[in-house]
Symmetry: C2
Subunit: 108 residues, 2 copies
């Protein structure tokens, strides 16, 4: 499992029509083969200025490579991301070896 | 749902015993009431120097506040995090209004 995330901010005014249009178009990324668990998120920590994040998962590196090479992704990056994103940070994750997800519900 | 994440690097040499000890102790955070889906991750994007991340979810702000105030968390931050982490970035997320997680498996 590879989780690909990118936190970002847009050049558009907050809550503008342009902001909404960017986010709506980006939802098309979810339909690229191999993309799993696609999420659009609002970033709310006061310790970062980033306003949004996209998160998605891939079964393996080959699926991630396919995504990167897919025409919709490449066009989205060239036509929309490059022009409308003011700042971003990519962070990609794999499970830490020897750890397992601790799915506690925190009883007590 | 609030997803609390922190990407970070440690002062310890890579793959050292001290690095392993820090990560092992941190797994105790998963047992704090309200913590859901606790994960320890390795950060693998070449666009960031952060080596690790912790990710967890809370049902609401009250659960997140309880976590922040829990003695184990406060002691971990004061006794371990403050001394052993060289750099970190907190990013917290809530679902974007009007979006839903697009759980596609990318058929095709």
């Amino acid at each position: 499992m590879i989780r690909h995330t990118v936190a970002f901010s847009l050049r558009h005014p907050h809550d503008s029509a342009e902001e909404t249009a960017f986010l709506d178009t980006a939802r098309g990324l979810a339909s690229i083969p191999g993309v799993q668990r696609f999420e659009q998120l609002r970033q709310v920590s006061t310790q970062s200025a980033f306003r949004f994040s996209f998160s998605m998962e891939f079964a393996d590196a080959a699926a991630y490579d396919s995504y990167n090479e897919h025409p919709f992704h490449q066009q989205f990056v060239a036509d929309r991301w490059a022009l409308e994103v003011s700042d971003f940070q990519e962070l990609d994750f794999v499970p830490l070896e020897g750890s397992s997800r601790l799915d506690t519900r925190g009883a007590g």
